[in-house]
């Protein structure tokens, strides 16, 4: 049984100017002890998807349909109490801006310790002791329990929010662009930290716009475009043998210090999700498009074991 199984998930934003189909019929599976990264550009729905899994989609967004099975139970049909027992304890979450989850007015030690007092019912002294140990695990000294968030750097704050997310040893860590605001050297150390938790058995759902960052650390990559999952497979499958023209375009647009000294853009712009183009949503920017692409939407099909793509070029037989 996979750890997390997202099935036919649709999340729409009901705005005054129309319905934004931010996540539109997305299915995805994350196994035990597996690192899956969702890669895409701004507005592709990758963050909305992550928020959907923890039922935190901000209004006017709403989960319209689909199932999210976590260890065999549908997160979307649970009542509030039941869901709260899972969030934090079995699923941890880290955001791009650590201040979304940290309280600026309380010492970080108390904030970490609160996870233990609330969920494990131990007393404050013991909880602070555990908080101190945890800070050492995330690469800070024990003394940081007395600091307030504003006394820390961005990287240190992100370490604290990772400590909170990982305090109860959840089975799944969801990380939404946790290093985007950080400098590259600090980013690397935060990635090492997350990788360390993965080695100890936690599965990771990592959201990023940076394909190279995903390629270095993940087991599998899911590429999203305009609310749709367009390609899914192991890192090697997706970056060495990309099947979707959008993935190919993305690979050519990422500068690589060890690759060619030239990058290429994908022509055109992503669509307005209130009024997406018919058929394949990428077809107006696609240089391989055929008639079919503007008429009908391609389904995700398996082109080799574990490698899925939604593109008519692959579905129509000859490929």
């Amino acid at each position: 049984m996979p750890l997390l199984e997202i099935d036919g998930l649709r999340i729409y934003y009901y705005t005054l100017s129309g319905i934004v189909k931010a996540v539109d019929n997305v299915s995805l599976v994350i196994g035990e002890n597996e690192w899956v990264s969702i890669v895409g550009e701004s507005g592709c729905g990758k963050s909305t998807l992550a928020y959907g899994v923890v039922r935190l989609v901000p209004p006017p967004g709403r989960i319209v349909s689909g199932r999210i099975m976590f260890r065999g139970r549908n997160l979307l049909s649970m009542d509030r109490e039941e869901f709260r027992s899972i969030l934090g304890r079995e699923i941890g979450m880290v955001f791009q801006d650590p201040m979304t989850s940290l309280d600026p007015l309380r010492r970080v030690g108390d904030q970490v310790a609160e996870m233990f007092t609330t969920h494990l019912g131990i007393d404050r002294g013991e909880a602070l002791e555990k908080a101190g140990e945890l800070l050492e695990v995330v690469g800070l000294s024990r003394d940081y329990i007395n600091y307030y968030p504003h006394q820390l750097s961005g990287g240190q704050r992100q370490r604290i929010s990772i400590a909170i997310a990982m305090s109860l040893k959840p089975k799944l860590l969801i990380a939404d662009e946790p290093t985007t605001a950080l400098d590259v050297i600090v980013q690397d150390t935060i990635m090492d930290l997350i990788e360390g938790f993965k080695r100890e058995g936690t599965s990771i759902l990592f959201i990023t716009h940076d394909l190279a960052l995903a390629a270095e650390r993940s087991d599998k990559i899911a590429v999203m475009y305009a609310g749709k999952l367009v390609e899914f497979g192991t890192v090697d499958q997706v970056v060495d043998n990309p099947q979707h023209p959008y993935t190919m375009g993305l690979l050519h647009s990422v500068p690589d210090l060890w690759g060619p000294r030239r990058i290429e853009s994908i022509p055109g712009y992503p669509p307005d999700l209130r009024d997406p183009p018919p058929g394949c949503r990428f077809h107006p920017r696609c240089r391989f498009r055929i008639d079919m692409c503007s008429r009908e939407e391609p389904e995700l099909i398996e082109v080799e074991e574990g490698h899925y793509v939604a593109c008519w070029l692959r579905s129509s037989g000859g490929g």
Binding site: S153, I185, H209, A212, A215, P255, I263, S265
Partner: protein, 329 residues
């Protein structure tokens, strides 16, 4: 080749605001040494990429060159002329020749002005065209930067454009005066990955056409590699390494440069093993460490690094490094 811009031992110290208690206790005023003795030249038609992490002083350096910030000491020489102490009135004719492109294209455009008028505006300010001519030139420029049909785009407002399109407007506005020198401060950091190349290509085409010199400021050395002839790496207000782009990236001599390069994620070398990892984070620029500023984080630091600051010395053809323990020796 002729030198277009030269920075000579530039320094900029920002005073740290003092609280009333600091004043009453006669605590000495503290300074952030944002730029602390930076020297380089940029030649005609050349792009120098200035690389560094946040707070290293790279943006301040760019602003100093354009006289958007007053240097604490040092000199700025533009086209052979010392412009360090020119008065605003004397600077005005030079403003045409030097332009800046900022990171956030939205913040650098006027939200209430049609984009065509914003592109035409510099021509009118500098009295280089009649309103009618300026309009014509702006239309040409819109076409040139790929915002077509130009008549339609002329009438639009910034909020009606995407981030990439706005950055094209910013570039058009900077280029309409045919400057000699441009400071581009993280011009693609806020642009989606799939559209970055087209913005960089646009800058490159102007560089060729106008024999433009450029200071390209970025935190991303992989972007810097694509656009530049030479790279300068800054750390805590100082240049620690400078040289031809591929030479610095393939053969870094300063441990900080090496750590920066190793930390950049790469698809081509995603399975690479050993990285040079450094400890901690950039120290407080109010009190930079004595000796080599990098020594507290440097895995190779020895006694001399703690006591003495190394000079920027030439270690290879046009390749300068500020370190006592050069890598690869």
């Amino acid at each position: 080749m002729s030198v277009v811009v030269e920075a000579v031992d530039l320094r900029k110290y920002f005073p740290v605001p003092r609280s009333i208690i600091d004043v009453l206790l006669h605590r000495p005023r503290e300074y952030v040494r944002a730029v602390d003795g930076v020297s380089f030249k940029i030649y005609e038609g050349e792009t120098l990429a200035l690389i560094g992490e946040s707070g290293c002083g790279k943006t301040t350096t760019g602003r100093l060159l354009l006289r958007l910030e007053e240097p604490t000491s040092g000199r700025i020489v533009f086209m052979g002329r010392d412009i360090t102490r020119l008065k605003p009135r004397e600077l005005r004719p030079l403003r045409r020749e030097m332009q800046m492109i900022f990171q956030d294209p939205y913040a650098s455009l006027n939200p209430r002005m049609r984009i065509g008028d914003q592109i035409a505006h510099p021509l009118l300010i500098h009295k280089l065209a009649t309103p009618r001519e300026a309009r014509e030139k702006a239309l040409e420029m819109l076409k040139r930067v790929g915002l077509t049909p130009p008549h339609e785009f002329y009438e639009r407002y910034p909020h009606q454009l995407s981030g990439g399109q706005r950055q094209r407007v910013v570039i058009a506005r900077a280029m309409i005066l045919k400057p000699r020198f441009v400071v581009a401060d993280e011009p693609v950091s806020m642009i989606d990955v799939s559209m970055r190349a087209s913005i960089l290509d646009l800058l490159e085409s102007f560089r060729r056409e106008y024999r433009l010199s450029m200071l390209f400021i970025t935190h991303d050395i992989s972007i810097g590699r694509i656009v530049s002839d030479r790279i300068a790496v800054m750390y805590l207000g100082r240049i620690v390494e400078m040289g031809p782009t591929e030479e610095v990236i393939r053969n870094p001599k300063h441990p900080y440069t090496r750590a920066l390069i190793d930390a950049v994620p790469s698809i081509a070398r995603r399975k690479r093993g050993k990285k040079l990892r450094i400890k901690g984070e950039v120290p407080d620029p109010r009190s930079p460490p004595p000796g080599c500023r990098f020594h507290p984080r440097c895995p190779f630091a020895t006694e001399i690094c703690r006591g003495e600051e190394p000079d920027l010395v030439e270690v290879g053809r046009d390749h300068y490094v500020r370190c006592f323990h050069l890598l690869g020796k």
